[in-house]
Amino acid sequence: MSTATSHSHAPAHGHAVDHHHEPGFWQKYIFSTDHKMIGIQYGLTSLFFLLFGFILVMCMRFQLANPEAPIPVFGKLLELILGDAAKGGSMTADLYNSFGAMHGTIMVFLAIVPLAFGAFGNYVTPLQIGAPDMAFPRLNMASYHLFFWGGVLMIASFFVPGGSAKSGWTSYSPLATVAEFGKPFNGQTMWLIGMVILITSSLLGAVNFITTIIQLRAKGMSWMRLPFFVWAQFVTGFLLLLAFPPLEAAGVLQLSDNLLHTSFFLPNGLVVSGQQLPVSGGGSPLLWQHLFWFLGHPEVYVLILPAMGIVSEVIANNTRKPLWGYRSMVYAAMSIGFLSFIVWAHHMYLTGMGTKVSTFFQTTTMMISIPSVMILTALFVSLWGGSIRFNTPMLFALAFLPMFGIGGLTGLPLGFNASDIYLHDSYYVIGHFHYVVAPGTIFAMFAGIYFWFPKMTGRYMNELLGKIHFWISLIAMNLVFAPMFIQGMRGMSRRMADGGTAYYGADDIALTLNKSITHAAVLLGLGQIPFIINLFMSIKNGRKVENDNPWKATTLDWATPTPPPHGNFAAEPVVFRGPYEYSAPGSKADFLPQDQKS
């Protein structure tokens, strides 16, 4: 560690001499092993997928508000791209299912996790622990490239005959196997291969993060001096490492069911469309669900923990005071990490579960709500006594708190099996997890982007555009997701290609809400335009930062030159104190950086 840092970083005046071979375009931007470039690659790719997943859901929302109607303008484009699958520019039930499955898959595996873990994790973690790079830079590069090609494969699957996977992002067997039975190479096959590649990428990333955080901490950076963001990434690394392999195995087994007609997940006596399925049977559809949700639930915390990490950094910085209950937050994060492995079957209450097993899983589910409440409470309490600056990153971080709060609270009636009997697989569920992920995690991601952009580029993002982006997003997100609770209460099931017209009269509130949600979703889409403009314009035209630490922050990521060069630190940092020494008594400045001696 010490040799690596001192070797690669001569003082600033020796800079030009030190870098006697400037890397070429390919090496610098494409096959980079620098964690910061890889972080930016992850960031841009996952933002693209975020937009892509949003476009998919906009098509679905149009269909829900106007069942069977051709999509204006964009429908023509769809027909052009997808041909017969989007004939006449309208969403068929197949296309709806296909977009639905891909929206979920893309948002979870290609947009939000890579953004939270791949982009922020990669860029910020080594900086915050005072490391020159990740422990395994080449592995890091391989991880990104696998992610990229996995994503390409997922998008390519739209063009396979029969279209992409259309059995939901959960890909339950036997539907996933029989949906295109008899077609050797179908969208589901592509999905599974894509997933195996993406999982491999995540595993490489997870190993790398864990090793880096254990091995490459700067001198003096003891465990309890780690910023909470690093703790969150650390726990996330373990979640990915331990939860993904079962799904990778399950993916290979389902691939074998689809291609080789084995029966790992297919029971005896399947009769599809009146024909006995020509497979041996004897498998279990529930096995797939167990393996899937064994990943699926920890995955929820993979989405949440890094978001909590980012929000903690931004809140500590902009309240100008230490995080309240830092230690309890760290222990809570570890408890979440452990407990998240034993709650998965609460997704499966209605698969015929008896009282004993369901009692176990709902007890663990209630237990895991406690550390989540602890972290959220600590962040709420941290506001008290602060000197709160309302800049754009802080607005997003602050909005995260009540929004994630709604997401978490609405998880309660789903986590109790008795209320889940009624609410299971209804729009209530959709509202719940979107509150967690959209105005929750995605807001945290925006906070992170606005917060670290000055470090990445040396320029601020525009505050006015940022605030427009924030307010439109906040209002629109709530107009989109809150009505879903009402739809769910009315008993409206999810994944209905016709938006429930088979069950409700045209003037039923469930259907009128479909229309208002779609309008709000359009507003949400428009609200992202200022962000996109801001993101790209500010790279060249943003206001320049005054110094390397524009937010007057304490953590090591702000102790680097701006933007940080290859190898990060001008001199090997030494850590003298905890991560959030803001407004310490006796200190004149209202912040004491971790690497400042006194």
Binding site: A93, D94, P174, N268, T355, S358, V381, W384, R389, Y503
Partner: protein, 262 residues
């Protein structure tokens, strides 16, 4: 107390156990509401009171009281009460306490096989002889979902409402649904009865309810099952016991359900 929830639009409960579930949903939502309103009020106050212009230098220590710890303990205790006092007993009643036959043909629970297929529900009653007709997977087809063989005596009076044909159940008598699927996973959900049970191929899982209101009710498929998932609606009627006996006898006389439309 739960008038608010009705305004949220939960359908009128129509089964004996529904009000228990509705009350529970109500209690949980009250807890959620109290927590949210409390948090949110505190949050707005904190944001206003500690804005930078009003409070230029932050307080290093912040909150010193243990209020939040008590709050967390409080939440945990309430959750535990909801869990032990309500959720577990309600669940046990729903999935384990099945009504048993006492030998009285007028009040004994009615058993019905429910079969899901892409994209219809089918129902199969024993008929007046209380014996299931012979079933064989080899006889199963798109229009004979229960695989009724059709050559045996027991099956001659079976009542089959196949492929979405509405069936009837009597008011005030327990109905045990033995739910399965012949192709992919469906979910048998009757919102008004507060009944949901996944229909999983290779498994037969029972669920039960006792109707407390006459009328027509819909069955929703609550698990994505393919392109027709959104139209996989089933309907059934709850009628008075007399009406039901009449319907049952007529259906039984019309002959078993082994025939095919194919």
């Amino acid at each position: 107390m739960f008038e608010i929830l009705k305004k949220f639009g939960m359908p009128e409960p129509a089964s004996a156990h529904a009000s228990g579930i509705d009350d529970f949903i109500g209690y949980v939502h009250i807890l959620m509401l109290i927590l949210f309103v409390g948090w949110f009020a505190y949050y707005l106050l904190a944001l206003f009171k500690f804005r930078a212009s009003a409070n230029p230098r932050a307080d290093y220590t912040g909150v010193k009281s243990h209020m939040s710890t008590y709050l967390e303990i409080g939440v945990a205790v309430i959750e535990a009460v909801l869990l032990v006092g309500f959720a577990i007993p309600l669940w046990a009643r729903a999935v384990e306490e099945f009504p048993v036959a006492k030998g009285d043909p007028a009040t004994d629970p009615i058993e019905v096989q429910i079969m899901g297929q892409q994209f219809k529900w089918s129902a199969h009653f024993t008929g007046p002889d209380n014996k299931w007709g012979k079933q064989d997977i080899k006889s199963a087809s798109a229009t004979n979902p229960f695989g009724l063989v059709g050559t045996d005596d027991e099956g001659k009076d079976d009542v089959v409402c196949a492929l979405g044909e509405p069936f009837k159940v009597p008011l005030g008598r327990s109905v045990i649904c033995r739910i399965s699927s012949m192709d992919v996973i469906h979910s048998f959900k009757i919102p008004s009865m507060r009944v949901t049970q996944d229909a999983i191929p290779g498994m037969t899982i029972p669920a039960h309810f006792k109707a407390t209101q006459v009328g027509s009710f819909s069955i929703t498929c609550a698990q994505l099952c393919g392109s027709g998932h959104s139209v996989m609606r089933g309907d059934f009627e709850v009628v008075t016991p007399e009406e039901w006996e009449k319907w049952y006898a007529e259906k039984a006389a019309a002959g078993g359900g082994a025939g095919s439309f194919e």
